[in-house]
């Protein structure tokens, strides 16, 4: 009760944050924005500003890191290296895989679950792409479809285990991680499979290579484009679909959702399937960027994805959060990595700094007026 009441203390602006974070609210963006701007009788304007700051916390965090990156960026001939088009494109390209995974992870965390298998599924998908196209000489399309289907089915099976048998998703996906990694090793004989392009035997079709290239006049890497499409699709989906309401309800109060007629089991299976699908998509992108599929690809990616989701403000307890926040969280981590690398900071120190940033983000969320 205290919680609920504290929340109402910053009612309008806060409700707007909810409108953004929890789609089931009525107001579209327009109402939300106008309400936040008009200082209604209810909230003092200072409270409104604070609430807005918290609402866009991950975006402001990203902005802060971005500005810090500009300041600390090494310069050559007066040019800020961080801001060069090439570098910026690289930043986003580097986060595109984690970003795609993190979108799926957001779905899972929104229903109060966790998926530890995504890194391993990425590895399995990378191996699958390489083996099918290089060793089995499959065409581009069938390979992609099969690899994506593997991720989808793998995720759905995990969803069934957690939703129907009732094993906690942490355990299910911990097992799934081992299984996917094992499958990848078996499929590749434990070896990385190098990808060469061409029309001959044991060469992947050139059409696959396109996925690693750039578009829009060589400015935008295709992986970035894929990430953007996935993120936007997910944001739109969470805003308009009936399914997303069910998803938030399951995460918010599973028992109430069930008694309200929400098909809880179906929602859970679908969410884990989506997460698996996106992990395998990230695996395809990974394979094309590295020109190989190795069973060791993607080790630890699940943790980076979770970090991006957490920095993005999605509650690990479920029922509250947004994909937009996750995208900001992923970009924040990407910019941070980039600027540390540009300055040749020792990689161990990099880890340390990343850890501190995650703690800081989580701490800030505790401080927000209504969480």
């Amino acid at each position: 009760m205290t919680n609920a009441q504290d929340k109402s203390a910053t009612a309008p602006a806060d409700a707007d944050r909810q409108a953004e974070a929890v789609p089931p609210t009525a107001a579209g963006t327009t109402t939300a924005v106008s309400a936040a701007k008009a200082p209604t009788a209810v909230a003092e304007s200072s409270g409104g500003v604070v609430a807005t700051l918290f609402r866009f916390q991950s975006v402001f965090g990203l902005l802060a890191v971005f500005i810090a990156a500009i300041i600390f960026s090494p310069r050559r001939d007066g040019e800020i290296l961080f801001l060069s088009a090439d570098n910026l494109a690289n930043v986003v390209r580097a986060v595109s895989e984690i970003g795609i995974i993190a979108v799926g992870m957001t779905f899972v965390i929104l229903i109060g679950g966790i998926d530890l298998s995504v890194g391993a599924v990425l590895g399995l998908a990378a191996v699958g792409s390489a083996v099918l196209m290089v060793e089995n000489d499959w065409g581009f399309l069938p390979s992609i479809v099969v690899v994506l289907a593997i991720g989808l089915v793998f995720g759905a099976l995990q969803g069934m285990a957690t939703a129907m048998i009732g094993i906690q998703s942490f355990i299910v996906t911990l097992a799934g991680l081992q299984i996917a990694r094992g499958l990848a090793r078996i499929w590749s004989d434990g070896q990385g499979v190098a990808i060469a392009y061409g029309n001959g035997p044991n060469e992947a079709p050139d059409s696959f290579a396109i996925l690693g290239e750039r578009t829009f006049g060589g400015l935008v890497p295709i992986p970035v484009l894929i990430f953007a499409v996935v993120a936007i699709a997910a944001i739109v989906f969470l805003r308009v679909s009936a399914f997303s309401r069910h998803l938030y309800a399951v995460g918010g109060n599973e028992k109430a959702a069930r008694l309200s007629g929400v098909p809880v089991i179906r929602v859970k299976i679908a969410v884990f399937a989506i997460c698996g699908l996106l992990a395998s998509l990230a695996g395809i992108v990974h394979a094309v960027q590295l020109n190989q599929g190795s069973p060791n690809d993607g080790i630890g990616y699940e943790l980076d994805a979770i970090a991006a989701v957490v920095i993005g403000g999605t509650s690990l307890a479920g029922g509250r959060g947004s994909v937009a926040g996750t995208v900001a969280g992923a970009l924040l981590l990407g910019v941070l990595n980039n600027i540390l690398a540009l300055n040749n900071i020792d990689s161990n120190i990099q880890l340390l700094i990343k850890g501190l940033v995650i703690v800081a983000a989580a701490a800030l969320q505790r401080l927000r007026p209504a969480s």
């Binding site: 679909s241 918010g252 109430a256 929400v262």
Partner: protein, 524 residues
Amino acid sequence: MAEVADLVRMSRIGKRYGGVQACREVDFTLGAGEVHALLGENGAGKSTLMKILSGDVTEYDGQIEINGRNVSFAGPTDAQAAGIAMIHQELDLVPGLSVADNIFLGRELRTRWKTVDRRRMEREARTLLERSGVDLDPRRPVGELRVGEQQLVTIAKAISLDARVLIMDEPTSALTTSEVERLFVVIRELRRGGVGIVYISHRMEEIAQVADRATVLRNGQFVTSFDPRRLSTTEVVEAMVGRPVQTMFTTPDAAAGDELLRVDNLVLKPRRPRPGRRDPDGISLTVRSGEIVGLAGLLGAGRTELLETLYGVAPGGSRSGRIVLQGKEIQPRSPRHALSQGIGFVPEDRRTSGLVLFHSILANTVVSSLPSYGRLGVIARRMERAASVRMADRLRLKFGRLQDDVGTLSGGNQQKVVFGRMLLTEPRLLLLDEPTRGVDIGAKSEIYRLLGELAGQGIGVLLASSELPELVGVCDRVVVLRDGRDVASFSTADSSEGDLLAAAMGDRAEFEGRAVFEEVGGPQ
């Protein structure tokens, strides 16, 4: 009335939550050895006022004096140090820990070696429970206890704090008659020891029995203070509601139509035994359309379990007997399935089973009827908003904005949201489990009005309740359950509360004449 120096003096207390003024310039005093009842509808500001006193709410206007000294608490720990303990309506116990562990949680007794002194904790817990008149093994895990027993544990815990001020928020809502009596003995004993007690309750007869003084709040403001032994219930209710209460119970016309639901000798044998549950063991009943049928019975008689079976939330196992809805036999598999058959359900505990408290009013209202707003799985916001607004109007929901969290509403209005959600699915049969528990009188009478209206539209209602006046007043017919069987059926036109009670108790207990009956039904 204790005319000694005030133990607690709260002056001009104000608190606002966003647009809602929860408390406005409220004065409240409590003497040593006084029992001061606090009355008011849900949302009247009682809980807020007491949360301020107990340090749960730290930002407010006004002043608090304890023993004449100005205080300002930074948190509940501060308040406890000042001798103020609060028994919350929501039980704050850890289910996995034992009774003794819960009582001493955070201040465990230690041995010489600084390890936990389990034996001494159990011994002292036992003494404490005996003092509170509770017969409980302190080693039992709290999760195994009935809600009423859990309530007694929280009371024992609060007493063990040796507080000078004890705040009890609806302490008896799940207690049996005899437990309530024993609690009153404890309260009187504490009073003799000079403890000041704030007693929040909706039950007028309890207040008349135990309180020295009563204060009524309405819309966050002080309304009146009186001697509870002198004012009549009607007068008190009018003070709380702020307008004369015409008829609390609408008795709908018994223009019942065709048979809607028939349950024939329903027996459920779960695969795994469920301790503390009473699954249907041979229940037969009918509900006609437009009829409101009550389900009476003591706690543990199997009312909730019957409703859950009909709604498809019963555990797996073997089922025999028939459930026939409008002439067609059905096997409710899940809430979703039941809803698709036209069966709606309002659960007993809206906080844990009804609502997502931190989601919006809108989201909570439309969640069961989503596919009907829009096409191909895409929601038309205007349609769902319209549906939600329509339902809010129909239920006379008091709220700020549809996108406010449902948790910001008062209990009665939260309950209306659960009702509205079900009504949007256009059910033919509505299953209600204690729909007015923890709901204030104003919202209660609105819910009754709504039930009458629904019956008028031909919807059948099966209403499980522990409140006899409600059953007799609202229902056309009442079916009494005992030990998972139906044992009697009354037309409310020619039966009294006493008849129901006698049937519910069978020959195992004597009639105690209490309006609200909540005896233990299970074998001891």
